[in-house]
Symmetry: C2
Subunit: 237 residues, 2 copies
DNA sequence: ACCTGAACACCGTTCAAGT
DNA sequence: ACCTGAACACCGTTCAAGT
């Protein structure tokens, strides 16, 4: 998506900004990531980023055509960090489980950036590598191409969707996060059996279960369904 | 979440605005929904809403403390519409499928409100009703309480997470949305088999499949896994 | 070649003044 | 009591001018 408007880095001659900083795509992405983590998603604006970098906001437009492009670059950097040095074991189910959990915990490590970028398609190097890898795992397991793509799509979107969901929770200010957790104790666990029989009967389990992410459960269910489908396909062949 | 800063409607005395409109929370929420529907997600700003209502933008601040509050009120209205007159059929799998798809398409109809509200636990009336209903469906199907809660949690979070994911896509400004769709054709479908064998082999399927939400597939997989688990439980009993 | 600074067309929100 | 209008502190983006 983002294309360099200038020749590759090593061929560029860059003048430092007034404040002595030599700009680069890498520096801009790293600074954007830092800004988001330190001051929240709303801290990322072209003007603030320029200030943080020691450069005029408008100078960033030769590195990124829009704010959106910058965001995609940040997203791709996160994917890269998450999948760096990951290797398949040959057990497709274990491999997908590991990939899903890695993406999820990577997102929780940078919750604010994850919330901003989890739902974007970047078309950039790290993302392409991830797509290639996951498709390889599924095709290697024996899924025919149309099925491999369907499972790929559901698997990836589920990983990204839960990552964003849980990252949003983790990105809440602590008082708000505590308040959300307290709702299950304070509201749900106190509903009378007369009006809310199902909640009352399961309140104990709700309080215990809702504290944790349901992603591991949902992931396991998706993998189970995929495995059942694979047996079906193999049985027919 | 939203609290009235003024007494209940029937006790208020309201002066019409210069353009003759009598403001109310209901009218503002309805107008906001219409604005989003007619002119896209980016059309909802306090200033545009004021213009659409025939009132000064600042007058809205006595009805909603922040834009956020307004969006939550819109979201609450949507939950109400989504679950209004929904009734279980007695077929637990069909019922959960229907509930999931309703939530998802409700979110897509109003993406901006959905993105903001999918991540929050409100403890409000509509939400409580939904929890009670879904738990009832699962317990009625024969899931023991701890299992019912686990499946409930995965089901609801999956519905909310995919709703937010797909709503976020729909909420993108049009140029970004178009660019996103084009990535599969323009970037992925052109990768050479030499370096990216799995993408090259499935490119045709990727272009066709990635256009649509994977939620129906992911939902069906979750339901299949839940059903398999139910058979297992029944077999043991 | 690269960065700057002004300009344009927008935002959300507050608050004293008007009716 | 309720709405208005000005003001404040921001946005993203473009482009001629400066170095």
């Amino acid at each position: 998506m983002t294309e360099r408007v200038v020749p590759p880095a090593e061929r560029r001659r860059r003048r430092p900004t007034k404040q002595g900083v030599v700009l680069s795509e890498e520096l801009i992405v790293a600074t954007a990531l830092r800004l988001i983590e330190e001051h929240g998603a709303e801290a990322l604006s072209v003007r603030r980023l320029g200030r943080a970098l020691g450069a005029d906001p408008s100078s960033l437009y030769r590195y990124f055509r829009h704010t959106d492009d910058l965001l995609l670059a940040v997203a791709d950097e996160l994917i890269g960090r998450t999948l760096r040095d990951w290797r398949p074991t040959g057990d497709w189910r274990a491999d997908l489980r590991d990939l899903g959990l890695r993406v999820h915990s990577g997102a929780l490590g940078h919750p604010r950036a994850a919330v901003l970028s989890a739902y974007r398609v970047t078309g950039r190097a790290h993302e392409i590598q991830a797509v290639e890898t996951i498709l390889g795992v599924l095709r290697g397991a024996g899924f025919p191409d149309p099925e491999a793509v369907r499972v790929y799509h559901a698997f990836v979107d589920q990983a990204l969707a839960f990552s964003a969901l849980d990252a949003a929770g983790a990105a809440l200010p602590k008082p708000a996060r505590d308040a959300e957790n307290a709702v299950w104790q304070a509201t749900y666990a106190r509903l009378p059996a007369g009006t809310h029989p199902n909640i009352a009967a399961t309140a104990r389990h709700l309080v215990a279960d809702m504290r944790h992410s349901s992603y591991p459960t949902a992931l396991e269910m998706l993998l189970s369904a995929a495995e059942a489908r694979l047996f079906e396909i193999r049985g027919r062949a």
